[in-house]
Each structure stands twice: as C-alpha cells, then as structure tokens.
Symmetry: C2
C-alpha cells in the first residue's frame, strides 16, 4: 500500500486522483489539502478518512473541526506545509495545487525524502534547478502527472537519455485556435474557457489558449528531463491523442497515445512502475481516423516564444514569466483586461526585471511576489 | 565489434544491412550468402572481405573461387548451413533470406548459441514453437528486423509483458489498396509490384497487396511476443509512418514512428541495445500533417483472415499457409495465374491438408515441400 499526501484535493486534478484510487486498497490518503470548496472537501474527508487536513483559512477549518473531531486540521501556508510533510511513514506527495503555492511544500517533502508526483507545473518552472538538485541529493522519485510529460517519460524508457535527439510536446491549440490574432482582441472569458478536448481548471484553460501552458511545459521538460531548449520542440496536434513524443538519434520517434483522459497519466504515476487495468474508454485509431499535425506558430502564440526566452535566460526569469502570466490571467478572468493584454503584461515584466543568476528559493519567492504585486495592484 | 553472418546479402534487406554497416568499424562480416546475383555478390565480397561465402549453385561458386582465392566457398543448401554456422567466434546471424530456405540455417545457428537478427518471416511462421523453444533453451537473443515487429519490440520496453492488452500491426494496404475486389480480378503483375511507400522485393510486395504479408506478420508476432491471436490486431495506415503499436491494459498506446526506411529497424537490431546516430531523413510530422487509420477489411483481404485461421489451428497449418501462398505468388509472378487466384489456392491448401499437432522440423519441411509441389507442378 502506498501512502499519499494529496495537495489540492478539490481541484480538477485532485478529484481525478481520488477517482483513480476510489475503491482501491492500494492507497491510503494520510493527509490532504484544499483551498475553499468546503462542500466537496467535506465529502472527500468523509470518504477517504485522512488523518490530517489543511484548508485555506481559519474560518473553514473551525467549521470542519467540529464536524470531524478525529481529524487533525491546519490552514493557510503553514497547514499546507504540514500536509506535505505529515507523518514519517514515507510515501508520495501528490502535488495538485494550482500556482506558486505548490513550490514550498514540494521542497519540504523532498527534503523529508518523500517521493513526489507532480501536477504543479510552477514547482519546476520557478525553481527547476533547486528541485532537481534536491531530488538527486535525496534519491527520491519525481514523476510528472500531466499528460505531456508522462508521455515523454514513458517514451524515454525505449532508449538511453544520451540518445535523445529531441522531444516533441504536442499542443491542441486550445479554445481559440481557429481565431486570427485580430479576432483575439475581442475574445471574452466564456469563449476562452471553452477547451475543445480537455475539462480543466480556468487558469490552465486560458494558458492553453495563449500557449503559455505549453511554455510552462517546455521549461518544466527542460528541468525534468535535463534537455537543452534546442532539444524541446512543440507541434500543434488538434486531436490531443498523441500526448507527446521522443525522437532518438537513430531517427526513430516514440509516441504515447490515448483518448484525452487525465486519469491515465494520473494512474500511471500512482502505480508506477506498474500499468494496471482500468475501465477507461479505449482509443480506437480506426474510429478517430485522422491525426493531424501543424507547425507551431510563434507569431500567433508569442507567450510560447517568451517562455523559451525566459527559459534560456534561466535564473529567476522563468519565475518572472510564470508570475506575470498568472497575475495577468487572473486580471483577465476578473474581466479587468483583454485577452491580448496577457502577453503584453508578461513581455513588460520580462523586460523590467533584472535577472539573478543561481537564485535562492527566497530570491524566487520574492520575485514571484513582487511581479504579481506590481501587476495586480 | 560484432561478428555478422549474413544470409541473403544481395536481396533488398541484405543490401540495406550492408549499407548500414558500410564504413563502420563496429561490425565484421565473417560469412555471407547470396543466391545468383553474381555481379552484385562480387562487389560485396570485394568490399566486405567475408571469410566464407555461399552461393546458389556450383557454377557460380567456381567462377568466384577463381576470383577470390583467399575466400572459402560453398553452395546450395549445404553452403547456406555452413554460412549460418561458420566459425566459433559467436556473433549474430542476420537472416535476410526470402522464403522457407531461411528456416534450417536459423535453427542451426540457434543451436550453436548464435544470436539471430531475423528478417526471414518464414522461420517463425513455419516453426514458431520449435524456434522459440530453442531460443529459450539456448539463451540467445532473437531480434526482429522488419519494421512492424521492431516497432512492437521497442514499444514493449515501456511496460511489462503481462500488462499488454493488444498489439496493433499497421498495414499500408499495399499497391492495390484503392481497387475494388472486382477490379482486382484483372490486375497485372506490374501494377501489383508498384508499392506506394516501400521499395521491397517482388514476393513481399505482392504479399503486401494481398495482405498475406500482414497475415505472416500476425503469426510471427504470436510466436515472437507470446501473445494470443485475440491480442493481435491490424489497422490500415496508408502513410506507413506509425510502424506498429502496443496497447497496455491501462489504455495507454505506445507507437513507434519514422519515415518508411528499412535501415532504421535494421540499424536498431544491429546495434541493439544502443540507438546510434545516423544521417537518415528526419520525420517531421508537421510536414506529413496527416496520419490516417482505417479498419481492416477481412472481406477485401481474405488472405489475412486465412492467416488468423491457420495460426489458430497451429501445428503445421501456418507452414501450409506460407507454402501455398509462396507457390501461388510465384505462379502469379510467372504470369500463370490471376491475382485473385492466389487466395483461392491458399484456401484450397488449408482445406486439403490434414493438420499435425506438435510437428517436428521434418514434418514442417515435408509439408512445405508437398504443398509447393502440388501447386507448382
């Protein structure tokens, strides 16, 4: 049995993690966290019996404490850290928090020699060098649970790392892929949130439409797989069937495919190194009939170009990119800026902030706060 | 350095094996065989300096013996066996012989604890159980060097064998894929030999058009990967980019892709377990743009249906299928029967021959001779 410490239990990924382990005796949720969805959180606690639960604020904690007297509770940043490091029974941190709040709990868990299943992109984007150094030093396993990096991870098993020529991350193009740059100027929130293939949270759905999501994934892949940015390519693949590919130096390309279903990479990470049976719908290519691929367009998606630039600058610039994009998307979702303002805001931040080489975790968290503060206030 | 014993050096696969190792110091051709292309064979001997050479008949042997006094020569079936088992320096038999003549040399090489790189489908189709038993007993490596089985072999590295749900062999549909059954009645040899994606020998090109090639591959896969026939599926994939796939029980499908280029699976087998750099053209999916997949049509391709039937009957029936098909294709290439007569001849043979369970190698070779004799005489 694997012990799990699940951060972000009520989010889209968190819920699918729970779906995968529901009714299975292979896992025990030792601790979990969620932010503010108390109605759903209450059900999860009643079903999965965690020993420790962290919520967003004191008010919600006090309500739940009354309802579940046998459960230990915490709240806020301190509670999240406790949920990540709870107990000495080993096991896996499942980090499905959205945003930069996921970084510190990951660091703390790795330091405690806890394995990490990572859905929180920000962890690696903001502090990739620190995290990968810590992972090596602690000898823990760090497994991706998004579909692209899970695909790359699987494909890499067919060769040696030094034989990789390039990896090719696929991108559906997101909710607005059929609109011209001109039409993007007037795009509304509702339209941008309508992803053709995946049901996901609001932030990542917008990031898919701007291609910032692929940008974050490029930086994540750089750290996760130890590849240079010139080895990381992207291709538009509207059907979201091929989740990513690895080209080896012998000109053989390995690809991982499935119907778009996050529970597949989630289950893969949870049961790794085993592949266990499930009752998810089967991919029949003769039913899909067509897989199409188009060149990435960096003019159409300047946020992807900026991600490569920030990634190559390294230092704190990936964190600046991430913070500026997160703040800008929040403004867009709040109806305060237009869709194309997101990229302008990120570009401005990348130009304004002076880089720091070999930043500490504190440097990274400070610039994250500073960039977001400037944009949001 | 790996020692190679190359059977079928002047054929399409044999020549590509030589192309892959040309100029490399990683390999030494200890022995080779070819049938009758003495002009090409002479060049190969001069370039690769084999110690032993076997040719089809005494006449050609005598000519070459004069030209290459330092080389040992043999001819006919005996010579082929000697080429396969030449020297005690270990290494790899590369069996690129076309047809049933490839079986006995493979058996002899495995008994000598020699690894086998197998392009000769007939070996496994005719005597799959005997071969796989011998391979296990001798502890040698048996690697496929056709594109489909190489793809499956690579994909299998991403999971455990007991986790495989099914394998999916892709089929281009061959040279006549756009013709109706009705039009097939009048198809000529030239038309049937015009394969859209691959440059191959005449026999295999006809087998691609009838789908008998895929039938042979299904039987081969059954023995090579130890899978039931219900786990082996086929799909039409006209572009020949995805060379085959493995679906695991977690509903994840792994695929291997490349431009259609036999040198890729050949190089993979020769250098296994390493993937080495080459200068073959790179697959760019954004240039190909479309990969299409269609259900296999067993009415359109009855020879594939018959292959499954023969495979499930087991015993000598796969050998009967192979022999009848080989003889019928020869008649077609000689202009003696029509294209659709091929399937009628195979069906008749499968109905006429009484099966033998657990056949010996002698049983198999006898039925091979008998079936071919009946059809050709």
């Amino acid at each position: 049995m694997k012990n799990l410490y699940l951060l972000g239990a009520t989010g889209s990924i968190g819920q699918q993690v729970l779906e995968v382990i529901r009714g299975k005796t292979d896992f025990k949720i030792k601790s979990l966290s969620f932010h503010s969805n108390i109605a759903l959180g209450r059900k999860i606690i009643a079903e999965f019996h965690p020993e420790y639960v962290s919520v967003g604020d004191l008010h919600n904690m006090l309500i739940l404490k009354d309802e579940f007297p046998d459960v230990l509770f915490g709240y806020g940043e301190d509670g999240l850290m406790k949920a990540a490091t709870y107990s000495n029974d080993g096991g896996y941190l499942v980090n499905a928090v959205v945003g930069s709040a996921g970084l510190k709990p990951t660091v703390a868990a790795i330091k405690k020699k806890r394995n990490v299943l990572l859905a929180n992109k920000e962890t690696l984007v903001m502090a990739g060098e620190i995290i990968t150094r810590l992972v090596r030093a602690s000898g823990v396993i760090l497994l991706p649970i998004d579909s692209e990096h899970s695909a790359v991870f699987q494909c890499l098993k067919t060769g040696n790392n030094h034989e990789v020529a390039r990896i090719i991350l696929t991108a559906s193009g997101g909710s607005l892929r059929n609109l011209s740059r001109d039409k993007l100027k007037k795009v509304g929130i509702k339209e941008a949130l309508r992803h053709p293939n995946w049901q996901m949270g609001a932030k990542i759905t917008i990031d898919s439409a701007t291609m910032a999501n692929k940008g974050l994934e490029v930086i994540e892949a750089h750290f996760l797989f130890g590849l240079g940015y010139e080895q990381i390519e992207t291709v538009i693949h509207p059907e979201s069937i091929v989740h990513s590919m690895v080209e080896f130096q012998d000109n053989s390309i390995m690809a991982q495919m499935s119907l778009p279903n996050m529970r597949i990479p989630i289950q893969y990470a949870l049961y790794y190194p085993e592949r266990v049976k499930n009752n998810f719908p089967q991919l029949r290519l003769e039913t899909i009939q067509n897989l199409s691929f188009f060149p990435m367009n960096f003019e159409r998606y300047p946020l992807l170009r900026m991600a490569y630039k920030a990634g190559r600058m390294n230092g704190i610039m990936p964190a600046v990119y991430n913070a500026a994009n997160a703040a800008a998307v929040q403004l867009f979702l709040d109806g305060k800026i237009s869709f194309l303002d997101i990229e302008t805001i990120v570009e401005t931040a990348l130009n304004d902030i002076k880089n720091i080489e070999n930043p500490s975790l504190e440097d990274i968290l400070a610039v994250n706060k500073k960039v977001k503060g400037r944009i949001l206030n």
